[in-house]
């Protein structure tokens, strides 16, 4: 590596989020500073309601911060119109959801092709690329099946293929293993860690599941709308999971 320090893929500075609660406003994030570097898998952990989903929604351009600045891939998200944010998500972000959110009537390959279709590709061509990704994830034989014919672990692999198919710089996952058994959860995390090895990509995973802490390059702990500490020592991260 040269001496030049690469800018992080995700940069959050002083991010505040208020939600309207009746006439009052409820502050859910109290000034978050966080960097996620290229080639890194970061876990975000913390008690329920501390603001994890809100934070990654802001990082991924689904919500806008009330205050503060978010840059992803060098691009400032503040002040972007809804249309520009949609384009940003299309180009830059891959999503993995706890409930997979696959379209039930589409095949695995078609589901995995959706981000390419959203970017303007023909369904047939997009599906071909999606099949290649599914093969890489060991899902080749299942590419033509519909979600209801797949196990939870297989569905999550389809979801991972969908998050990878357009080669995004940033992948966000909210509780990707919560609905999976231990072995499937580990398998999914291995795929995500491999995805994060790409030097142009960062992966953020929100989780409650201490069994997967070991996959983290770094781990951010949140409490009550704040990041209380960021661990980067594998030993310290492992210690947390016991």
């Amino acid at each position: 590596m040269s001496a030049v320090v690469e800018a992080p893929i995700v940069q959050a500075r002083g991010v505040v989020k208020d939600f309207a609660a009746g006439d009052e406003s409820l502050r859910v994030l109290h000034g978050i500073d966080l960097d996620v570097r290229a080639g890194e898998l970061m876990l975000v952990v913390g008690p329920s309601g501390c603001g994890k989903t809100t934070l990654i929604s802001i990082l991924a351009g689904i919500l806008s911060a009330t205050e503060g600045e978010v840059r992803v891939g060098g691009r400032a998200l503040g002040g972007l119109s809804a249309r520009k944010l949609a384009a940003f998500r299309r180009e830059t972000v891959g999503f993995i959801f706890q409930q997979y959110n696959l379209l039930p009537s589409l095949t695995a390959a078609e589901n995995a092709a959706v981000p390419l279709v959203a970017r303007g590709e023909r369904l047939g061509a997009a599906e071909k690329k999606a099949r290649l990704v599914l093969e890489r994830l060991g899902m080749g034989p299942h590419a033509g099946k519909q979600p209801r014919q797949l196990s939870g672990g297989q569905m999550q692999r389809v979801a991972i293929a969908r998050a990878l198919v357009h080669d995004p710089a940033f992948i966000v996952c909210d509780e990707p293993t919560a609905a999976l058994d231990a072995a499937s959860g580990r398998a999914a995390m291995e795929l995500l860690r491999d995805a994060a090895r790409d030097p142009h990509r960062a992966v953020v995973v929100v989780t409650h599941d201490p069994r997967i802490y070991g996959f983290a390059d770094r781990l951010a702990e949140m409490e009550d709308g704040r990041v209380t500490r960021v661990l980067d020592e594998p030993a310290a991260i492992r210690a947390l999971s016991h």
């Binding site: 940003f88 959110n101 959706v114 279709v117 959203a118 023909r122 519909q146 969908r162």
Partner: protein, 397 residues
């Protein structure tokens, strides 16, 4: 938004719609049922209203009807003096003017059965106003003494028990049968297809000079004067001229038909009650269509939310939903209209009481517009929630 993307996104929308076949068929048949309900009820209503003006509509050779100024609808006649005919004939622009007689009488079949009938008397010389759709015999046979032409369904009323023609086996011809009206014998020389009158009484056509004698006393001659305008003559203008020169009421036939329909609409309870049924049919139909479609959209809210999170633009999601709505609407409408048409096709053959009821294209068009509005409306209402990107929808369980 380019064409290719539209195409691919459209394919996805189509898959979302048809992926669950049972649900998809449920949607289509929900719409079809609603469409059938709406068109069937509205068509029967329209048919019922047209029946009130049946005798005006059936006179195809006259452009104008001239009558006593006190007449407001076709079934209540006021006789005109014989001289009125000559005065009308002298109005410039009148090609011909013919007397027309209309009265209610009682017919007695040879076996003694009684039946109220409309007696219509047409001009002896020209037979203007005679039925245009003859089934048996010829209009010219009316020139024979005591000759009458009866409407096909009316004959079935007078001679029931012989419904052979309705079930397929040939019915004995009505030609040659006799009737007694006002103690005078009439011989049937032909049958005609006529519009069903509101009261469903049989209609008996005869010559003007005979008709007077078939009606019960007091006999009031010259109910109406039928007028044909000279070529190129504006009917409304001619009507105004006749009214001005004779002091009589003159109306283009369409207008007279409408005024008759309006009279029944305003003066009798039947149309109002039936109108409420029609409105209910529309409300129920609209509710079924709106409900089924918005449930479909709401069931897919999470899917739309996920698509939106992945960067699919609002406009595209809107188009996806509208495409799904259009697919359901067009299929459901086609099937529903088909079912309504089949209903009328079958009933008009098997049930004489429902003859003359058919699918009016204006009703079909109105239903199409209603279904389109309901689907677009419910699509927009239901999709609003997907257009606001809510992490709770996307990320939560």
């Amino acid at each position: 938004m380019n064409y290719v993307q539209e195409h691919a996104v459209g394919a996805i929308a189509w898959r979302m719609l048809t992926g669950d076949r049972a649900k998809y068929l449920g949607l289509v048949f929900g719409v079809a049922f609603a469409v059938m309900l709406m068109t069937q009820q509205a068509s029967i209503f329209v048919g019922l209203m047209l029946r009130t003006a049946a005798q005006v509509i059936d006179v195809t050779d006259a452009d104008l009807w001239v009558m006593d100024p006190r007449i407001i609808y076709v079934d209540e006649t006021e006789p005109l003096p014989e001289s009125a005919l000559w005065r009308v004939r002298s109005v410039p622009g009148v090609e011909w003017a013919a007397p027309f007689f209309k009265a209610l009488s009682v017919a007695r079949a040879p076996d003694g059965r009684l039946q109220q009938v409309f007696v219509l008397g047409v001009d002896d010389a020209t037979l203007a106003g005679a039925p245009s759709r003859m089934i048996e015999g010829s209009v010219e046979d009316l020139r024979r003494p005591g000759a009458v032409v009866i409407d096909r369904v009316g004959a079935l009323f007078i001679w029931p028990g012989e419904k052979g023609s309705e079930t397929g086996s040939p019915r004995r011809s009505d030609v040659g049968r006799t009737l007694e009206m006002a103690d005078r014998r009439a011989t049937i020389v032909g049958t005609a297809e006529t519009s069903a009158p509101f009261t469903t009484f049989p209609v008996v056509y005869t010559r003007y000079s005979e008709a007077l004698r078939f009606a019960p006393p007091p006999r009031k001659p010259l109910s109406y004067i039928l007028v044909r305008a000279q070529a190129g003559e504006d009917h409304a203008a001619l009507a105004a001229r006749i009214a001005a020169e004779t002091g009589l009421k003159a109306l283009p036939w369409r207008q007279f038909a409408w005024e008759t329909i309006r009279y029944y609409l305003q003066r009798t309870g039947i149309p109002i009650n039936f109108g409420i049924t029609v409105i209910l049919g529309f409300v129920v139909g609209a509710a079924v269509v709106g409900q089924t479609f918005s449930i479909f959209v709401l069931e897919n809210l999470r899917q739309f939310g996920a698509l939106k999170a992945m960067g699919v633009a609002n406009g595209t999601i809107l188009r996806m939903v509208l495409l799904q709505g259009a697919a359901i609407g067009i299929l459901g409408f086609g099937i529903g209209i088909g079912m309504a048409a089949a209903f009328f096709e079958i009933t008009s053959r098997t049930n004489v009481d429902l003859r003359g009821f058919f699918l009016v294209w204006q009703v079909a068009a109105g239903t199409a517009v209603a279904v389109a509005l309901i689907i677009v409306g419910s699509a927009l209402l239901a999709i609003r929630r997907a257009l606001v990107l809510d992490p709770a929808v996307v990320f939560r369980t």
